[in-house]
């Protein structure tokens, strides 16, 4: 056993341990912390499986943005947590439930371990048209070419999520502001970090988007990083989030799906079909779409995290 293998096995046990701890945790806040750690460990697992794109996404979305969202939710729910515990079963039904879960998990594990190795895959086929598209990263080709439609619709789902969050505000606060208020004077480590990090973060994010065409990275990961920068600034209370009625905010939120859909429909006229890219121009078109998708993701995630508007526009 090499040292790498030993580390891999250790990582696997750590993931299982943290997962178990997260499930066993009694308080929501503890469970959320467990979940964030679990996400980061999972990102390492993806790295070890040579799935860098997935690792980046898992770290940025799975534990990063979702983590912030869950922590703020857990803090907000703390007062009402005891009340929620009344839907609790006695010991016998719990044993039945545990037995059922064990059976389901065992069946799942058995069929996964029983699968042929290597399993059925489209990876070689996905690489063939890469040159024609001018791309180097097969995952980007899947997301923006072969399954472009699914990607476009996923961005629409994000817009719907924003509408869902906003719709939780009161009628009086509609069109107003959400998130932390701005402070006149800000000091301390968070404010310092919020001034130091964003320039670096923005450059790294743009880099991730740009290299996404050929290497691991892309609109979602880059957009998530940008949104993290925005969140730091918001949480350090250097700036306030824009009012939800602001036109430019709404344009930014839908720019990704709208540009995607418009280019898809232009394909009818220019490339012979919906979401077909004109021959020879595939790469610039794809990069164009990715830029707007990044913008959409970067605008959407902070709006989801800060929640519904709770005060009128000042």
């Amino acid at each position: 056993m090499t040292i790498i293998e030993a580390l891999d096995i250790g990582l696997a046990f750590l993931v299982l341990g943290v997962a178990g701890w997260t499930i066993a945790a009694h308080e929501a806040f503890t469970a959320v912390i467990g979940y964030v750690v679990y996400g980061l460990l999972l990102a390492l697992v993806w790295v070890r499986l040579f799935a860098l794109d997935v690792a980046l996404t898992e770290a940025a979305i799975g534990s990063g943005v979702t983590g912030v969202l869950l922590i703020s939710a857990a803090v907000r729910l703390r007062a009402s947590e005891a009340e929620m515990m009344h839907e609790r079963l006695g010991i016998a039904p719990r044993l039945v439930a545990a037995a059922l879960c064990l059976v389901a998990a065992a069946a799942l594990a058995a069929v996964v371990l029983d699968m042929p190795d290597p399993g059925a895959t489209l990876a070689p086929q996905a690489r063939q048209p890469l040159a024609e598209l001018g791309l180097g990263n097969a995952i980007t080709a899947v997301l923006i070419a072969y399954r472009a439609f699914d990607t476009m619709l996923e961005k629409v789902v994000l817009v719907l999520a924003v509408i869902g969050v906003w719709s939780l505000s009161t009628d009086a606060n509609w069109g107003g502001l959400a998130g932390p208020t701005r402070l006149e004077r800000t000091e301390g480590p968070l404010a310092f970090l919020a001034q130091l990090l964003p320039p670096l973060g923005i450059i790294v994010a743009l880099h991730i988007v740009w290299v996404g065409a050929n290497e691991p990275g892309g609109a979602f990961q880059g957009g998530a990083l940008l949104s993290a920068m925005a969140l730091i600034v918001l949480m350090a209370r250097l700036r306030e989030a824009p009012a939800i009625g602001r036109r430019w905010l709404r344009v930014a939120l839908i720019s990704g799906p709208v540009v995607f859909l418009a280019i898809g429909l232009l394909g009818f006229a220019l490339a012979g079909g919906f979401l077909a890219y004109p021959l020879g121009f595939a790469k610039p078109v794809i990069v164009f779409i990715e830029v707007f998708m990044t913008l959409s993701v970067a605008a959407t995630l902070p709006m989801l995290v800060i929640g519904p508007p709770d005060r009128r526009p000042s």
Partner: protein, 563 residues
Amino acid sequence: MTSLLVWSLAVPIGGALLAFVVGGRRVHWFALATLPIGLAIAIAIAAALSRSSGPLLYLIGGWSPPLGVALRADWLSAIMMVITAVVICGIAAFACGDFISPRPAEARRPFAFWILLLALWSALNLVFLSGDLFTLYVALELLVFSAVPLVCLDGRAETLRAALRYLLFALLGSVLYLVGTGLLYGACGTLDIDLLAACLRPEPVTLVAASLMTAGLLAKTALFPLYLWLPAAHAGAPPAASAVLSALVVKGSFFVAVRLWFFVMPALPGEAATQVMSALAAAAIVFASLLALRQDRLKLLVAYSTLAQIGYIFLMFALAFDEGSGRMVQGSALVGGMMQAISHATAKAGMFMAAGMIYASLGHDRISELGGIARAAPLAALTFLLAGLALIGPPSSGVYLAKTLLLRAADNTGQWWWAGVLQVGGVLTSAYLILVVAHALAPMRRAPTPGHAAIPRLQQAAALALVLCSLVLGLVPWQPWLPLPVAMSGHGPLGLAALWSMLWPILIGVPVAYLLGRRGNRRPWRVALWLEDADRLLRQWPTAGASLVAVAVALAAAMFFGR
């Protein structure tokens, strides 16, 4: 012509995104402008399909499966799309009374409602058209994220709770569906429905995948016993939203289940699993109908009626199984199930709207105090009555056609017990309708709370139109689209036998309603109390979670050992 499939998705999505960015008090204009276009596209697709020799196919971006994704329109998609378009138009007309910003500024409820309505429409069209299991997953996500906020548009604490339950349980269902999809990709290296159908063999991995995906879809559809979210969500939403949720949203995940069982893996489930599905359906019909009798609020009664109707549309699974070939057959049982689905969609939309109008004119919807409603809101009361009749199934209605087809399938396959469930269901449906009618005919106890505005004419017309739609669905010449048995075209809809088939459930329903129905403070039968306890238990998280796993395990066991 096949590019229409794309336009049927792009038009509502485009409308929703435009409405989002332009906003303001005229959000509804975008929706109202989109409606006729979408309806025309759906009808054009159905017309094109009746002329075409096979399903309409569109390869997105020119990439053919397995690498790319395809849109396919077959007869199932076509009828569902047209009925969905009709119901959405009716609901939009009704919503014009409730969801137009009164002030010159943009308002929260109209903004959310109209955009979500359009998004929901595109999601449903995608469910009906998609030829790929992952695109179907995306469609289901679109559906959930546009449906959940509709539940809590009123912003009351109990509706927020209902919406959260719905969201979490539906997402649990999504996870199960997604895990199964991953397993199928690992087994076959494709997610295209036609390619998978050619590749899948009954082996452990595919059977586990099938049972997980089915359990997930049942959770999203709220088939018994996985319904913890439905009564509160459907009864608490504003009337127009309740109509969308009950009539259309639950049909989305039902449709995916049909695609999965009849098109992706017709040879996989085997007989025992189909019996499990129909047993759950039968339990839903009996249990939820009895509980409908026990409700004290009209909207809750309608919500439990939806639960029972979800049972009806799933009952066909055992009837569509062909013992000889060991496969699910796309024959009259499937047509019966789909006919039941579209009849329920139109009737239930009208019924929820009628319940909403009754609430608006009385200021409450307590069943025991419905007396005098026939005078206070005659058209709303009539619409409710007709919607109830449409669910029982007079000879011209879609439900009658559906029942005839299902009974015939039960007869042909020798499964008399499912025919019995259908008849019992008819009696119970009559019983809860009779209960409402009996209370409505009572004299008015006190004057209606003053200050309630008259119900807009448009709302009354929209609700009535949808219900009438359901009542004449049985007369539509379906032959160009549906694989109907030829003999069906000549069923005498006005014969004495047909009329009697509707009358006897009502006659038996009267004593059932008297014995089991909630009537004032009278001490109910002990059975009724047990039912209510069971209902409360099933609507708790731990029970619902355990039931979800139990359903998955039961389906997998049936698929493994029952073939």
